[in-house]
Every structure is written in structure tokens, then in C-alpha cells.
Homo-oligomer: 155 residues x 2
DNA sequence: AGGCGATAGATGCAAATGCATCTAAATTGG
DNA sequence: CCAATTTAGATGCATTTGCATCTATCGCCT
């Protein structure tokens, strides 16, 4: 059996992932500590954001779960909290008696926009000085491609 | 004030970050669900991994904290758990009476290697089919560059 | 030297998370 | 058409996490 040299495909993939992961940790650390997330945790904001991007306005809980790094039960309770704060509302899914649809309330939409504006500024302040426009586009292309190739996520 | 068009630098940076973040979530979801992390949570493994990469074998707790997306107190307790399981050992820092140095125990090193082997295979199975070798190198370059430009992380 | 703000890490406590499990509804197979 | 399996989401409970705070030590400045 051949030893894994320092240029093996396996090692390259591992180093690529590690670099991606560390960059994500570092950027997230900066973002979390900013003033944008005083009112809402990042995961909570992320749910509002995803709902705001949803064309129909309504989103199934299980679809939401693909975007967020949370277990099903944790997402369920996170949504409980958002609902109690009046930021989202639940509705039984029309075609599937098991399902639950979510949408932003007006207040939730307001808060998402408010935090979102600041969040986007924070991101830009971190990313724009780091990478040229062309590099950002290439990074986006590569991470899109990576994600697209993964197929359905495990539940 | 000009409206933010769909090609504004601010928007590009935000979309780049979102793509990076979603890719990280998706890959992490797959990795977490695999059998490699039955014995140890990802954050716990990450601590063992970082220690295994440390040239001197000893690492300060606060340096470790830069690698992991955890608060200082959570890391302190995570290390408690690892220590109770016999995977790492603490030592007072020689030059700094406030500091704590960490190293892997033999058992910790074994477990890191065992999980690490499987983890690297899992990563490779996800990343290698998604991106060419050149693309992986470019992605690694870009995420390295991004991270390098961020400067010291907030505590 | 002596005081003083800053830093490293630990700890009490409330909140968030995940696992296992539960209920209900949909789907499948005979 | 009904039983068995699967799927969506909620919930009990133990674990993990973060915030605030505490102690101890360090570095600095006079």
C-alpha cells in the first residue's frame, strides 16, 4: 500500500476543507462579536434571512433545516422562540397534515432588514479588503459548486 | 446616495460569504453524521487535531480558542471533559502563572489518529468528486488569503 | 517597590442543544 | 382496503453552551 505523500489527492481535499472551515470560523467569530447580533443569535437571524428570501413567503420547517447547522429538535425550539417573540408565524401545511409552514411576521421582516443591513456591511468590511472582485467571484463559484455536488443532506 | 445595484461590491461580498457559509454547513452536516464522530463531538476532535499538529506538543488554551468556534468558558469545560476522559493533560504554563498548557495523552493521540483517518477519508469523498485538483488548490488559496487578512480574532 | 488596569482561565447559572422518543399523518405493499 | 413502514414535527431530559463574574497573575507606569 502506497504511503499518502504530501501531494496526494486525499491530503489536498483535507487541506482544502480545513482551510475553508478555519476561514469560516474566523469570519464568523468576527461577525458574531459585532453589534449586529445583539438582539438575535446568528442562527435565529439566519432563519429570518432564509424566510425573507423565500419567494412564496412560506417555508417548510424541514426545508429550513437544510440551511442551518442545527438538529431538527433544536430548530423546532428555535422557531418556538421566534414565534413567541412575534417574529414568525406557523401554519399547518395545506397538502400535508404533518407539515408546518413558516413565514415572517411584519415585525420579523422589519428586524431581519434592520439586522441584515448592518450584517451586510460587516461582511463587506471583512471580505472586500481581503479578496479582489475576481477572487470573490471565483470563491463564490467554487463554494457553490462544492455545495451543489453534495446532494441531499442527511437528516 | 446611490442604490446598491445587484453588482455592487457590498452585495458581491455578502453573496460570497453566504456561499462559503452554506457550503461549510452542508459539508459539516455530512461529516457530522458519519460514523467518524460517534466517539467524540466535532469540536472535541478539533481540539485533539489541533494539538496533534502542534510542533512542541504543548498549546496554550487561549491559542486553541482561535481555532474553534466556542466561547472561552465553553472551551475550558470542553477541555475539562477531554481531561476527565484521559485524552489530554493540563499543565501550568512555565513563564506565565495565569496560563495553562495542553497536550495530548498517548490515548488522546491514538484516538485522534483513529478518528482522523476516517475523517480524512470522509472529507476526500465529499470534496474530491466536487472540485478538480486545480479548483481545490485555488479554493484553499482563497480561503487562506481571506483568513490571513482578518487579523487577530476577538475574544 | 507598589498600585492598577489588562489578561488567562475557572465557575455559577440560565439558556440552548442534541438524543431518544412520542404522536400523528402520509406512503407503501399485500 | 387495511396493516406496516416512513416521515414531519414536538417534547422529556441530560448535556453543552454562553454570559457574567470571580480569582490569580502579569505588565506597566510612576
Amino acid at each position: 500500500m502506497a504511503a499518502q505523500g504530501s501531494d496526494s489527492p486525499v491530503r489536498l481535499a483535507a487541506e482544502t476543507w480545513e482551510s475553508l472551515f478555519r476561514a469560516q470560523v474566523a469570519v464568523m467569530r468576527k461577525l458574531q462579536s459585532g453589534p449586529a447580533f445583539r438582539k438575535l443569535a446568528v442562527n435565529e437571524y439566519d432563519v429570518l434571512f432564509t424566510l425573507s428570501r423565500c419567494p412564496s413567503g412560506w417555508l417548510r420547517l424541514n426545508e429550513l433545516n437544510d440551511n442551518v447547522l442545527l438538529s431538527q429538535s433544536s430548530l423546532s425550539r428555535l422557531v418556538d422562540r421566534l414565534e413567541k417573540r412575534g417574529l414568525v408565524s406557523r401554519m399547518a401545511a395545506p397538502q400535508d397534515g404533518r407539515g408546518v409552514l413558516l413565514k415572517l411576521t411584519d415585525e420579523g421582516r422589519e428586524l431581519q432588514k434592520e439586522i441584515g443591513r448592518e450584517h451586510v456591511r460587516d461582511i463587506s468590511a471583512l471580505v472586500a479588503p481581503a479578496l479582489t472582485t475576481a477572487e470573490q467571484k471565483e470563491l463564490r463559484r467554487l463554494t457553490d459548486k462544492l455545495r451543489a455536488s453534495l446532494g441531499p443532506l442527511p437528516r
